[in-house]
């Protein structure tokens, strides 16, 4: 049963993506898209949508995921302005280094999302992830120890991602 749902969700998502890309509802395109969506799903075994990942459709998680978008956009814009300021400054005020931070997120997807969010925010770039520790290249190292670095870089994102992906929520 869960398998069937997973396959159907995958087919529907791929089909919708196809139709969005061709931009018409021409019967020919609709049929071709449907056939290809089924083929790809069969080949991939419904891979992108495991039963667990469908939990994100729960209302509370979805609401937090929606709230995460403006938060992320604001973080990206703010950090971009900061990096832009450093680039145009003739003295090039940077203070780079690689710091270690800890995350309390457990779920692999949550950790991936965290690493990607950190990378998308300019000024910080995830170099490696190893268990619950991430190594972050930071353009302007301010923190003196791991707790402070964690608070500065990770905590803001963690608050959202915890609710969106983790089991306990």
């Amino acid at each position: 049963m869960e398998r069937a749902v997973r396959y159907l969700v995958s087919i529907a998502a791929l089909w919708a993506l196809w139709l969005a890309l061709v931009g018409t509802l021409d019967p020919q395109e609709v049929v071709a898209g449907g056939v290809i969506a089924v083929l790809v799903t069969l080949v991939a075994g419904g891979a992108p949508f495991t039963g667990r990942s469908l939990r994100i459709l729960a209302p509370k998680r979805l609401a937090w995921a929606l709230a995460y978008i403006p938060y992320m956009v604001w973080a990206i814009v703010k950090a971009n302005l900061d990096v832009a300021r450093r680039v145009v400054d003739p003295r090039l005020p940077i203070n780079p280094g690689i710091v270690r931070v800890k995350t309390r997120l457990k779920h692999p997807v949550a950790r991936t999302a965290l690493a990607n969010s950190i990378t998308l925010t300019p000024g910080t770039l995830s170099v490696d992830i190893c268990g619950d520790e991430l190594y972050i290249h930071w353009v302007d190292v301010q923190a003196k120890d791991i707790e402070e670095a964690t608070r500065e870089i990770v905590s803001g994102f963690e608050r959202y991602l915890e609710v969106i992906f983790e089991d306990a929520a």
Binding site: A20, G23, N80, V87, P96, N116, L120, S126, V127
Partner: protein
């Protein structure tokens, strides 16, 4: 003149400014990691702003432009991360003025070979 065209044009110009700043970043920054910071991130935002701006100017294309923007937004951090990790393990050094390198310490602790 239609409001959407005005806002769209402003977004396109803003986006192009970020593209320029990002490219300036990869020229000015002293090492690979800082170049990635300034370069790929600022240009990602520039890219998104420009695409959304063009979508506002031509609303019929908005959906497709948003899909392209979404693709960039999802793949860019992955390739940046892979590139940074690969470069570090291949021995590309941090710049002289770097204040700290806790990654090297951790790798050495695990007994992994760190090229320098």
């Amino acid at each position: 003149m239609a409001v959407n065209v005005v806002i769209g044009s402003v977004l396109v110009a803003l986006g192009a400014a970020f593209l320029f700043l990002g490219a300036l970043g990869i020229v000015r920054m002293p090492d690979l990691y800082n170049r990635m910071q300034a370069g790929t991130k600022a240009t990602t935002l520039g890219n998104l702003l420009t695409l959304v701006g063009l979508g506002l100017i031509e609303p019929a294309w908005m959906l497709k432009l948003l899909l392209i923007a979404l693709f960039v937004l999802m793949t860019n951090p992955i390739s940046s991360h892979a590139l940074a990790r690969g470069a570090y393990r291949a021995g590309v050094p941090l710049t002289e003025g770097s204040v700290r390198d806790e990654y090297r310490e951790a790798l050495e602790e695990h007994g992994e070979e760190v090229p320098s």
